[in-house]
């Protein structure tokens, strides 16, 4: 980047400076207008509607009612999202770690080929996959019974919070692993070799050398996964019938059955807040890291 900038100002005709800037703005303007109409406007509307009553006066009633009506769903969402993130983090560290430090070439190759398959599978298809795979007579239970690991009488449906966690993890692990493996591959090979020569085992190498350097990428992947899980509507609607369920499902319910935008948008505030808190933690973490560097 820096090299290209160094010989960039080869056309420094003073009088042409201003028109070039306005040309640039002109080129960006259509896209900016589109994002204003399609994103900023709905965003402002969602924030305003959450605090307005029917006559247009400001109120906190929607927020209070959202908490009293859907407090359980909020806790449920929080629990499902936390459990999924924990599972995603553990699995992607394990897979990316093995891809980086694994000693058996054929196993590394097989794993690299294997882990990516769910990467671009749509959420709505993932929901259908889970509905058939995790059901009482789904393939998971059938295989467990056939292999003798489980009695057929104890087969039960996983289509509850456990199904949600497994489905979210199935879909998001490849994505986070892809990012994390990329970051781990960028770690200086000499650091790893130095640690190995000093007698550190592979596991120790992963947790003390490689992972700390790749941690910011892991955070980004987890935050993006959090946003995805708080956005997706189809999976909770397909997996969970009844209460409690994810906030997205409740928001859609509030709108399709009651046309109640006030409470739906108040619920939306909660998902914004949850994302903002996580993003704030991430920023604080990166700032502290930059400061100590």
């Amino acid at each position: 980047m820096t090299t290209s900038f160094s010989h960039a100002p080869s056309l420094p005709i003073p009088g042409r400076r201003l028109p070039r800037i306005s040309l640039g703005l002109l080129l960006v303007l259509p896209a900016l207008t589109a994002i204003t109409l399609l994103y900023a406007l709905p965003l402002i509307r969602s924030l305003v509607t959450a605090f307005r009553d029917g006559s247009g006066a400001w109120t906190t009633e929607h927020v209070v009612r959202a908490f009293s009506l859907y407090g359980r769903d909020m806790l449920f969402s929080l629990g499902v999202v936390s459990a999924s993130l924990a599972l995603i983090a553990a699995m992607s560290i394990a897979i990316a770690g093995y891809l980086t430090l694994g000693a058996t070439p054929w196993a590394v190759r097989a794993l690299r080929w294997l882990y990516r398959w769910p990467l671009f599978i749509p959420f709505v298809v993932t929901g259908q996959l889970a509905r058939s795979f995790l059901a009482t007579n789904g393939m998971m239970n059938n295989v467990l019974v056939e292999t003798g690991l489980m009695a057929s009488s104890s087969a039960q449906s996983f289509l509850d919070w456990r199904g949600l966690v497994l489905t979210f993890a199935w879909k998001q692990i490849p994505f986070v692993t892809l990012l994390l493996a990329g970051a781990m591959a960028a770690v200086e090979q000499s650091h790893i070799e130095a640690a190995r020569n000093a007698g550190a085992g592979r596991l120790r190498c992963l947790f003390q050398i490689v992972l700390p350097q790749a941690a910011p990428t892991l955070w980004v992947g987890l935050i993006l996964s959090l946003v995805a899980m708080l956005s997706v509507l189809s999976v909770p609607m397909m997996l969970i019938s009844g209460n409690p369920t994810m906030m997205t499902s409740m928001m859609a319910h509030r709108i399709t059955y009651y046309g109640d935008y006030g409470i739906a948008n108040a619920l939306g505030l909660f998902s914004y807040a949850l994302t903002a808190v996580t993003a704030w933690f991430y920023l604080r973490l990166t700032l502290r890291r930059e400061a100590t560097r």
Binding site: S4, A8, R20, I21, G24, L25, L27, V28, P30, A31, A34, I35, L38, Y39, L41, P42, L43, R45, S46, T104, L111, L114, Y115, W117, P118, L119, F120, P122, V124, V125, G127, Q128, L129, R131, S132, F133, N137, G138, M139, N142, V143, E146, S152, W170, V227, S231, L233, S234, M237, M238, T248, M251, A252, A264, N265, G268, S271, Y272, T275, A276
Partner: protein, 270 residues
Amino acid sequence: MMTSRWLTRLGLGAALGLMAFIVFGPLLNLAMWAFAEQWFYPNRLPTGWGFAFWERVFRPRAGAWTSLFNTVLVACSAVLLSMALAIPAGYALARQALPGRSVIMLVFLLPQAFPNLPIFVNIAAIFYQWGLNGTLVGVVLVHSLPGLVYAVWIATAAFSAVDRSLEEAARNLGASPLRSFFDVTLPQALPGLLAASIFVFLDSIDEFTGTFFVGAPEITTLPLLMFNASMGGNYQVAAITALILLIPSVGFMLVIERFLKADVLSRVGR
């Protein structure tokens, strides 16, 4: 020594086998549903196999064709709209000294950085006032929002990966700015722009939430058709539709590395 090596191999094989089951089991289960004509509890496997449901899905005027047509039409329109907006914007963001460039980049990041369900809900409310709900135009617009975000970011990265000295050489040899853009810059940025288009296309094909609020019930796309079939308990139709939706996603997963080159990837977000 020999036995321990064999044990490691066995352990690795078992772990990979388990993982293969976790990754492919659900897909296999789905494929079984797509060809099952009879499958009642507690049978472990379908009791009747066949293509009867495929015929039912693809019967003329069965709804699937309309959904498929809508899906492809909306996806292509969303690609055209997003790229038409993103190519000039990406070029300007990569090449011109814009005031507040980082703020503009941030604006194009926000839609992906926060949960988008409230946005779709309120877009639907606004579109309702504008008379766009239940129209193809409305669905294309709602699909272009996530598309535009990807397109602007990838296009900016693709244009900043183009070697500036080639452009300058063309200008020095007397090419007009437009000519040097179309003859030098655009061809070099093309792989990145193609990757962006594929991303927008796939995202639009898979898009559920926006269509659910803005399009339904007048406009049905394949994801909505699949959802309705599944919720109605028709697992065969849902499985067949899901298999169709899987084709582009898996296909892209297999070729992604050819389109998204490392030099473009490393510039995303700068």
